[in-house]
């Protein structure tokens, strides 16, 4: 539609080029990603202080609006907001609210009436965070905590933060993303982030049934065999396989998936010796990877969780415009 301005294309960035909402990695640029990662770096020492707080968001109210179950994302967002001294409201909207007939828009309007400054939204529908961002008042920010199969930008950013901690330089890296790419918002956001940061080679490894139709056009190399896909990679990013996919038209069983695509020490040996293994959690042990790998020396899975707090602090503070790094740090 050439006649209309692309309405949502720049919903995320304000007229001055600053982050207003974080809805997806697509549409951002390398400078903003780097700013987020650098800011997160400055926040990463906060938990080591005797008072684990900075006063950046004092007087601000953050609402975690979770329409879909989550443990670690919700908890790390909550901790991140608290460490920034914001008041935090966590609302788990059960699926029954839809049964009650209240629309997402009505839920949102009610919360807005409570003078929320920032919404963190997780929703089962792709585009939910975009929709909310298109409806909120101009001074309110929205952070996407995962929408359907579309995007999970804070997860991708904490993954980039973790990679940067271990590898420093993105351009020489070869990264493999393994598993259910089709249904994964994490994979889509990771691919965009890795591309923006200039990673040398991005691979996706999955059976054809779990690959979206035009995945190549996102700038990845496609592998259907795990051994080929893992050869000489620097980073292995495993994806979660939802239980309902394990026995469907897409896969015969979780067991067969593990036998073919599960990450074991033998398969990991094909990657570079210093390769790191990542997973967004929660892990299905014996489906996506064996316990030896999950708990092994190359696993950085728990570091990802820790980094999630600093990265989310950075995103919240940038969205709410508190760009100055506090002096006591």
């Amino acid at each position: 539609m050439t006649e209309l301005p692309l309405r949502s294309a720049n919903l995320q960035i304000d007229a001055k080029g600053h982050l207003r909402h974080l809805l997806s990695i697509e549409g951002l640029n390398r400078a903003i990603l780097t700013e987020i990662l650098d800011t997160a770096e400055s926040f990463s020492s906060v938990p080591a202080q005797s008072v684990k707080k900075v006063p950046l968001l004092r007087g601000k109210t953050v609402a975690n609006l979770f329409f879909e179950a989550s443990t670690r994302t919700r908890a790390t967002f909550e901790l991140a907001a608290k460490r920034l001294s914001a008041d935090v409201l966590t609302i788990n909207v059960p699926t029954s609210s839809a049964v009650k007939g209240e629309s997402l828009l009505d839920t949102l309007r009610n919360l807005e009436a409570m003078h929320i400054d920032l919404f963190v939204v997780r929703h089962a529908e792709s585009g939910a965070a975009h929709f909310i961002a298109s409806q909120v008042s101009p001074h309110v920010s929205v952070i996407n905590g995962g929408d359907g199969r579309h995007a999970h930008p804070t997860q991708a950013l904490l993954d980039m933060f973790t990679i940067r901690r271990h590898k420093r330089n993105f351009s020489n890296l070869c990264v493999a993303i393994v598993g259910d790419v089709m249904h994964s918002r994490v994979a889509r956001s990771q691919i965009h982030a890795l591309n923006l940061l200039g990673v040398g080679e991005i691979r996706v490894v999955a059976p054809r049934t779990l690959l979206p139709s035009h995945i190549k056009e996102l700038g990845v190399r496609v592998f259907t065999q795990l051994a080929e896909g893992l050869r000489d990679v620097d980073v292995v990013m495993m994806l979660r396989l939802q239980k309902e996919r394990m026995e469907s038209a897409m896969l015969p069983s979780g067991l067969e998936f593990f036998q073919v695509y599960g990450l074991t020490p033998e398969k990991l040996a094909l990657a570079k010796p210093d390769a790191i293994v990542m997973h967004p959690g929660p892990i299905n042990r014996g489906v996506e990877m064996s316990s030896e790998v999950a708990d092994g020396l190359q696993s950085v899975i728990l570091q990802q969780v820790t980094h999630g707090i600093a990265v989310r602090m950075a995103i919240m503070s940038l969205c709410l415009g508190s760009r100055a790094v506090p002096s006591e740090m």
């Binding site: 309405r7 949502s8 975009h130 889509r188």
Partner: protein, 429 residues
């Protein structure tokens, strides 16, 4: 309403593809009929419409308009939507059977006819249900539906899963001369999908509907039509490959026709970027290649009708995350201007466009409308092909303001619509 006056439409460029007519002529209307074309000094007009610089064509025939009544009057009523039809130059429209309740009994068809007569803004033709309740399990009472005036049968947007039932329903419909309207979609391949399976569905993480969902269903119906010698009409094509398959069937002499929705000739999957729910339609907007091929199909005549697929919605139906929004566009009032855009862009010539909007859809229905031949019903559309305007859905006559074309600058606008010689719409000039 008083008897229509004797009207002379003076000096317009009269285009009537049914009689290969394109000339500056007067059109004279009396007693609900076209009584003369050209100079007729003996005709004493009580009223004149100055059509200098305007195009005069048959009232448009739209094969697919959801009036929403009965059952969804919060979206639209027969009165509100036939008024919108008049504003769009549409004088004859065809309603699919997926009302609430479904049009599977003469009673529902009668109700619609009565309301349409009361409204008196457009001729309303009715498609009855192909299967009872559109459930795809039992053939509907087509004899009764035909007797009640249904001009064809359809299963709405719901595919008939069972191939045997589809076969029997098509054969049975042929008994009564009812055209079968099929919306080709494989229920399994499309299950859970909302948008074209392609680049955009991959990027946005929206569940896709593959092209094969349509082509599998087209192939199945073509094979049945060929075997049993029944006529079928495919409605709302979305894929290039479907056009190819239907072209091949037509070349072999099968009695197969097809239509496409006007928005499919303008929009593609790329318009969904940013999760634009106004572009949520069924069948989905597909690739630019598909869009261009549908245009070729319209130009060549493989696709012989263009419809509005008018689906008015209340505003909240589009205010939700994409997959939770209702599909459809309020399309009556942009039908002709969007068609004229295709002419301006060199995709269709004006005669082809008007044929696809008048005479040919009437032929698909087997009805004698869509022409200005002397003796025909005086259904006329008069439009200004050069008038610039900007689409503003807030000014729609339709109760549904849902359109992705809001803000589009279009050239060409309906000024007068006459139904049986009476003015059912007139735009302030």
């Amino acid at each position: 309403m008083p008897d229509p006056k004797r009207i002379r439409i003076r000096g317009g460029r009269v285009i009537d593809p049914a009689q290969r007519l394109d000339a500056v002529l007067d059109v004279c209307l009396a007693e609900k009929r076209i009584v003369a074309l050209g100079e007729s000094p003996d005709f004493e007009a009580e009223e004149e419409i100055d059509a200098l610089g305007l195009i005069v064509c048959p009232g448009l025939v739209d094969l697919r308009v959801h009036l929403r009544e009965p059952g969804q009057e919060h979206k639209g009523t027969i009165a509100s939507e036939t008024a919108a039809a008049a504003a769009g130059g549409v004088t004859t429209l065809c309603v699919p059977p997926d009302t609430v309740p479904v049009i599977d009994t003469p009673a529902v068809a009668e109700l619609i006819k009565v309301r349409a007569d009361q409204s008196d803004r457009a001729w309303v033709l009715i498609l009855g249900a192909l299967t009872r309740g559109l459930a795809g399990e039992h053939i509907s009472g087509m004899a009764a539906l035909a007797k009640a005036g249904c001009v064809g049968v359809s299963n709405g947007l719901r595919p008939v899963q069972n191939t045997l039932i589809l076969r029997r329903a098509m054969e049975y419909a042929a008994n009564f001369g009812l055209t079968v309207f099929l919306h080709p979609q494989d229920p399994w391949l499309s299950a859970g999908g909302f948008v074209h399976e392609g680049l955009v569905s991959t990027r946005l993480g929206l569940p896709g509907i593959p092209v094969a969902s349509e082509t599998v269903a087209v192939a199945r119906a073509l094979v049945l039509a060929e075997q049993d010698g029944v006529r079928i009409h495919f409605t709302l094509l979305s894929a290039a490959r479907s056009v190819e398959m239907i072209a091949e069937a037509q070349a072999r002499g099968l009695p197969v026709t097809a239509d496409v929705a006007m928005h499919q000739l303008h929009l593609t999957e790329l318009d969904l970027l940013g999760f634009n729910a106004q572009c949520h339609v069924s069948p989905p907007l597909r690739s630019t290649y598909d869009r261009d091929y549908l245009r070729i199909g319209c130009s060549s005549g493989v696709v012989s009708a263009i419809c509005s697929d008018h689906q008015p919605h209340e505003p909240s139906a589009k205010l939700a995350p994409f997959c939770e929004t209702a599909p459809g566009i309020s399309g009556l009032e942009t039908l002709l201007p969007l068609g004229l855009r295709l002419v301006q862009d060199g995709i269709l010539d004006i005669h082809t466009l008007i044929a696809r909007l008048t005479w040919q859809p009437a032929q698909i229905l087997g009805q004698p409308y869509g022409t200005l031949r002397v003796g025909s019903r005086a259904d006329v559309c008069i439009f200004d092909p050069n008038r610039d305007w900007i689409v503003n859905s807030a000014q729609f006559v339709s109760r549904g303001h849902n359109t992705p074309f809001d803000g589009w600058r279009l050239k060409g606008r309906v000024l007068h619509t006459l139904m049986e010689g009476k003015q059912v719409f007139s735009l302030e000039r």
